[in-house]
């Protein structure tokens, strides 16, 4: 028999003490959704089951005790740290869930400038870690736009990626070791070594698990020397995305590693670059960084590649540098955005996918055309590629629509999910991945079998083995 709400709260209080169990109704209601249904919080209209409590463990031992108890009592657990999730990973889809919030586990355990690694608890905001390592002339190299607000646990749990990924990689390239707590209360520590071949790389069971397998309590990430003085910015305008993708491919195939390598389509470019790009211009931009010789060689190499494309018109680098300096989203920007939505009912959503070089432009064109054609009230449909690899790149669809004729709680059904559906369909049709870096959450979970194909067997087996009672973040990655 499942526990009552009162019994759940009581059980948690016994484990962590009364001060670490939050039952304030407003906080619980707001905790029932994340950015996927952000309109529910903005307009204060809620439909998801209200969690029974938010619990704030102080250390790994308390996390282990909570998970053991939840596992024994069949209580659904939703791990959380920075609460910036965009795909419904934090949404409570079953009644009386418990949010296990790691934000009190916020200690930087060590910074080791000799071995170039830093260890921190899951609730350390990335910005806090970055600020501390900068004191040593170092950087984590990780810079998602949510850097000021996202925490290390969530960043690892979602396989996040930062704006400098072409040089430093995604979070999976940065994590050297970690500690995770599993539903039975087992605490597993993966040691920090440069590499090993002692069987499968089990870090990847944990990285990207989105709280559906385990709770990440501590992570160790790589550090890199920081040379901001050598940052070199390059930018061009051009008339079509196909050329932009081709240039990005040339840069990657020739072995250059700019930290930023992007191409924006005209719609998306209009949001950032309308002061120098015409309404039908795409914008191609790069940042080269690192030691002086490397930054210069990278910038020179990219310049030579783009010079071979006369259809690209170079723009002063100050345009790109100024854009770069205003990239991240802190809490005040998020609040201003919420206010804009409240007043205008105009909503910005994003969906990111990846595919090989042969398919990416077709996916972009097909999805864009269908969305404009099939979805009502679209005010902007565009996107950019921002993370490139030797074999392909990502496409970050960026779109706005007016919410018309429905309440805020119906926005996802009327607009957002149908758009996601189109993007997933067009991506899967051409062999791409439906999620590049935001995680599956609950929003894209319905497509999980199509995404995985026959490898779904591995995913399903992982879930069954590590979470046999199904208490970890129900509905995330694998739908209910």
């Amino acid at each position: 028999m499942s526990l009552s709400r009162e019994a759940i709260v009581e059980g948690l209080r016994r484990i962590v003490g009364p001060d670490a169990v939050v039952t304030d109704e407003k906080i619980l209601v707001e905790s029932s959704v994340d950015n996927f249904r952000k309109l529910q919080n903005i307009f204060d209209v809620h439909t998801a089951p209200v969690p029974a409590a938010v619990v704030l463990p102080a250390d790994t031992a308390q996390v282990a005790a909570i998970l053991t108890w939840a596992n024994e009592n069949g209580v659904n657990v939703i791990p959380r740290t920075g609460a910036t999730a965009t795909e419904g990973g934090l949404e409570s889809v079953v009644p009386d869930s418990v949010i296990v919030d790691g934000s009190m586990m916020n200690q930087i355990v060590s910074i080791d400038p000799y071995n170039m690694q830093a260890t921190c608890q899951c609730g350390v905001p990335l910005q806090a870690l970055e600020d501390r390592v900068r004191e040593h002339g170092l950087t984590t190299g990780h810079s998602p736009q949510s850097k000021p607000v996202a925490h290390m646990g969530g960043l690892v749990a979602t396989r996040s990626i930062g704006q400098f990924s072409t040089l430093y990689g995604g979070i999976e390239d940065m994590v050297v070791g970690l500690e995770a707590v599993f539903p039975g209360g087992e605490v597993a520590r993966i040691k920090n070594v440069p590499r090993r071949a002692a069987g499968p790389d089990i870090r990847h069971v944990v990285i990207g698990n989105e709280g559906a397998l385990c709770f990440i309590s501590e992570v160790t990430v790589k550090l890199f020397p920081y040379f901001p003085e050598n940052n070199t910015f390059l930018g061009w305008t051009l008339k079509d995305m196909a050329t932009g993708f081709a240039v990005l491919r040339d840069v990657m195939v020739n072995g250059y590693k700019p930290s930023v390598a992007r191409v924006y389509d005209p719609g998306d470019a209009g949001l950032h670059f309308s002061h120098f790009a015409a309404a039908d211009d795409c914008v191609l931009l790069f940042m080269a960084e690192g030691a002086a010789g490397i930054a210069k060689a990278t910038a020179d190499g990219i310049q030579a590649i783009v010079d071979k494309h006369p259809e690209c018109t170079q723009v002063p680098s100050e345009y790109i540098e100024t854009w770069f300096n205003d990239l991240c989203w802190d809490a005040s920007k998020i609040t201003a955005e919420d206010e804009r939505i409240r007043q205008t009912h105009n909503v910005n959503r994003t969906t990111e996918i990846s595919a090989d070089w042969s398919s990416i432009n077709d996916i972009y064109q097909a999805a864009k055309a269908r969305i404009i054609d099939e979805i009502p009230d679209i005010t902007m449909m565009g996107g950019h590629s921002s993370h490139s690899y030797i074999n392909g790149t990502n496409m970050y669809f960026n779109y706005f629509f007016n919410v018309v004729g429905v309440g805020p709680e119906e926005e996802t059904d009327k607009y957002y999910l149908p758009i996601i559906g189109i993007i997933c369909e067009e991506t899967l049709k051409r062999g791409g991945s439906i999620v590049h870096h935001h995680g599956m959450g609950k929003a894209r979970a319905p497509w999980v079998k199509d995404e995985y194909g026959s490898s779904y067997y591995i995913l399903e087996t992982l879930k069954r083995s590590f979470d046999p009672n199904g208490i970890m973040n129900k509905g995330t990655i694998i739908p209910l």
Binding site: H275, P316, N325, D326, E339, T344, N346, I378, N402
Partner: protein
């Protein structure tokens, strides 16, 4: 009034929030080359945005039109900007939102902090198209603005000017119920147009967004573009007659020091807060 002619004047400004410290430093050093002339910050490399109060004025005009339509009353909407080409994308957006007339008067000169010349250009333009029933203007725009333009325009047109307007609603017999800030509070006045409304800290401050289909529908429509010279105002020459000159602009560092109140429980923190911040002050009372 069965038919109301509303005209909104707006300004496009650099996004000052996106300026970097060195851009302002250039201003403090009095270096040249920036868009706004010597002493102004370097603004060439940031995107352009609608002035905040102008954005509110535009949305208020649309809401007024919608409310009048619901009451079965006709309204015509026009928007204009005294600006270079950078205002065009904004004018196209306004066309898509239902502004029947979207015009740009190019002064061929930088009119920052030149309220008399700006007002002369605006008033001349408005006389040319026919003085409106309601003229909405933002009460001021970016940093380095005088805030005097609405008054001067109203004066030139011989119309009353209501300042710091925060809301406009329809009232009976074609009148307008205008809310404005005054004396630390708000006053609601019912006005029979014509009038100039200088919009301040409005409740509604953000402009709605047209759909792609709305944009497509007006794609073929052109903007009215004319130079101030064509109106008979030589803005560049008139600038020399502005009595006041903006010599420089700089930001004031607003960062404040902070302390984190430590304590294991809320009670401990409250006690620490009381001890460090309150007790001494209370004892002094």
């Amino acid at each position: 009034m069965d038919h109301l002619r509303i005209v909104v004047g707006f300004k496009v400004t650099p996004d000052y929030e996106a300026l970097r410290a060195p851009d302002w430093a250039r201003a403090a050093g009095g270096a040249a080359e920036s868009g706004g002339g010597p002493g102004a910050p370097e603004t060439r490399y940031v995107r352009r945005v609608l002035g905040v109060f102008d954005e509110a004025a535009l949305e208020l005009a649309l809401r007024l039109r919608d409310a009048r339509a619901e009451a079965g009353l006709e309204t015509s909407l026009a928007a204009f900007s005294v600006a270079a080409r950078e205002a065009d994308p904004f004018l196209q957006t306004l066309q898509a939102l239902g502004f029947e007339r979207a015009a740009r008067v190019d002064p061929r000169a930088a009119l920052d902090f030149a309220p008399r010349v700006t007002a002369a250009v605006i008033a001349t333009y408005l006389r040319r198209i026919g003085s409106p029933d309601v003229l909405l203007l933002g009460s001021r725009c970016g940093p380095g603005e005088s805030g005097a333009v609405p008054f001067l325009v109203a004066d030139e047109l011989g119309l009353p000017c209501v300042t710091e307007v925060t809301d406009v609603q329809i009232a009976s017999r074609g009148r307008l119920r205008v809310t404005f800030a005054a004396g630390g509070g708000w006053i609601r006045a019912t006005i029979a147009p014509p009038c100039v409304l200088a919009v301040g800290n409005a409740v509604v401050s953000m402009l709605r967004v047209p759909t792609l289909k709305d944009r497509l529908a007006v794609r073929e429509r052109s903007l009215d573009v004319l130079s101030s010279g064509e109106l008979g105002v030589d803005a560049a020459a008139a600038l020399a007659g502005e009595p006041t000159v903006l010599a420089s602009l700089e930001t004031i560092d607003r960062e404040r020091a902070g302390t984190i109140v430590a304590g294991r429980t809320p009670e401990e923190k409250a006690r620490a807060l009381y001890e460090t911040q309150l007790r001494a002050r209370l004892e002094r009372l």
